[in-house]
Amino acid sequence: MSVIRVVSPGLQTTVQDLGRFGWAHFGISASGAADAFALRAGNLLVGNAENAAAIEMTLMGAAFEFESDTVIALTGSDFAAGIPLWAPIEMKAGQTLRCGPSQSGARCYLCVRGGLAVPKVMGSASTHVITSVGGRPLRTGDLIPIGNESIRRPRSAPKTVPPLNDGALRVTDGPQAGNFGDDLYRGPYTVSEESNRMGLRLRGQAIASAAGQMLTEGAPLGALQVPPDGQPIILFVEHQTTGGYPKPANVISADFRRLGQLRPRDQVTFERVTIEQALRLLQQQEQWLYGL
């Protein structure tokens, strides 16, 4: 079996697929790629099923040596690797791919034809960094076996890639929207350095809410929760499965891609949309993937 050797690990480089579902009632959130759109596109480009395990890099990229000829694709943000993004690329045996610091957003994905043959835990290869379910971030010297799970020929590179939404983050009303005024929509908020795959902590004008205790309840991906200090937190892929802070809004699925690319110090504003609008926007995004 052919392997990829980790020459340098970057800042936080993990194996991810589309997540581990069916375990939230055991207290374990899905995890999975922070920018699932980029991971899916990369897998489709190299001829894999869209859920194949691939590598997620964060802010500062890693370097990898390929033991044999391999078809790869880099998607997501530009990590100055010196090869075209969003395109299948042939790497030769012995060749090293060096990714550097991000030139755009927070994450870059390395998808490999055949997928990564890492063991699945509870049905998924994804790393849940905070709990170590599914493994740990990669280190220098790690050997990652390449699988043989490709399902078709690599695709040709698309002419255009749908741009990231760089306007307001779009949200639908959360379960406690009625307890909040319009503070959230006055923005802007700055992504704090304390953000991670569990949550994006925002700093800005405190959000006031009507007083009142609430019972702990389930918390979905992308929920904005507002603790007593009024500084919102967006629950992200390794989020807590339940929470007791009120949730005025929830980021729409079509903008999860943008969440995965937000970096510390980026600024965001929010715009309210309906569920119907949110689903239409998701459908538009899916159309492009279906075309690959």
Partner: protein
């Protein structure tokens, strides 16, 4: 019962705003009934509610809502026999830095707090929070103690705690605002085992006092 979208990919089903045996029975029934349903990605049961995640590319909120009604209209299957789990705890000292505060708040001696805490049988209402935290019902009402005014930055793994009228055990070191009365050496969370949490919804739990090692 109220049913409404919590997001474009989840439905929130709520059975009232007060903890009661009746609403909790509905929570367990819906959770068991929907476990394994192909339309459902994840279930998040809590005291009086269940959050249901689904794939919005394949299913609609209406479809999931119909599933909820169908599940609650079928006669409830017999409850599975609960599992009984005993947890050894070293109380007080470095393991339970808030035991004295709990004693002071409740007007009991530390020994009396331990005695009453270990006499009770707890039920795991649900498992959640940051990771695999068991929310335990069944705390003797006289032991209820408010949470700390601000959370601790670091609560050690295995800490046994009281938060208001609830009890819980921290499966991993994490921040937390509950009152720490003891600590167990039993590992509640093992990422290598499947599924990793020792305590699951519906389990019955007893705490046994252990002497310091």
């Amino acid at each position: 019962m109220t049913i409404r979208p919590a997001s474009d990919r989840s439905l929130h089903v709520v059975f009232g705003d007060r903890i009661s045996a009746e609403s909790y029975a509905t929570v367990t029934r819906l959770t068991h009934g929907l476990t394994g349903a192909r339309e459902v990605l994840n279930l998040h049961p809590a005291y009086t509610s269940v959050l249901i995640d689904f794939d919005p590319r394949r299913y609609t909120h209406e479809r999931i809502e119909a599933l909820v009604h169908a599940c609650l209209e079928t006669p409830a299957p017999p409850e599975p026999e609960p599992r009984h789990i005993e947890i050894g705890v070293e109380f007080g000292g470095d393991c339970g830095p808030d035991l004295a505060d709990v004693a002071q708040h409740t007007g009991l001696s530390s020994d009396a707090v331990i005695e009453r805490f270990t006499a009770a049988v707890y039920e795991v209402y649900f498992v959640g929070f940051s990771t695999c935290f068991p929310y335990l019902g069944g705390l003797p009402p006289e032991l209820a103690t408010p949470r700390l005014s601000g959370p601790r930055k670091h609560v050690p793994e295995g800490s046994v705690a009281i938060g208001g009228q609830q009890a819980g055990v921290y499966p991993l070191a994490s921040p937390g605002g509950w009152r720490l009365i003891g600590r167990t050496r039993l590992r509640l969370f093992d990422p290598q085992s499947v599924p990793p949490p020792l305590l699951r919804m519906g389990d019955r739990v007893r705490f046994l006092p252990e002497s310091p090692r």
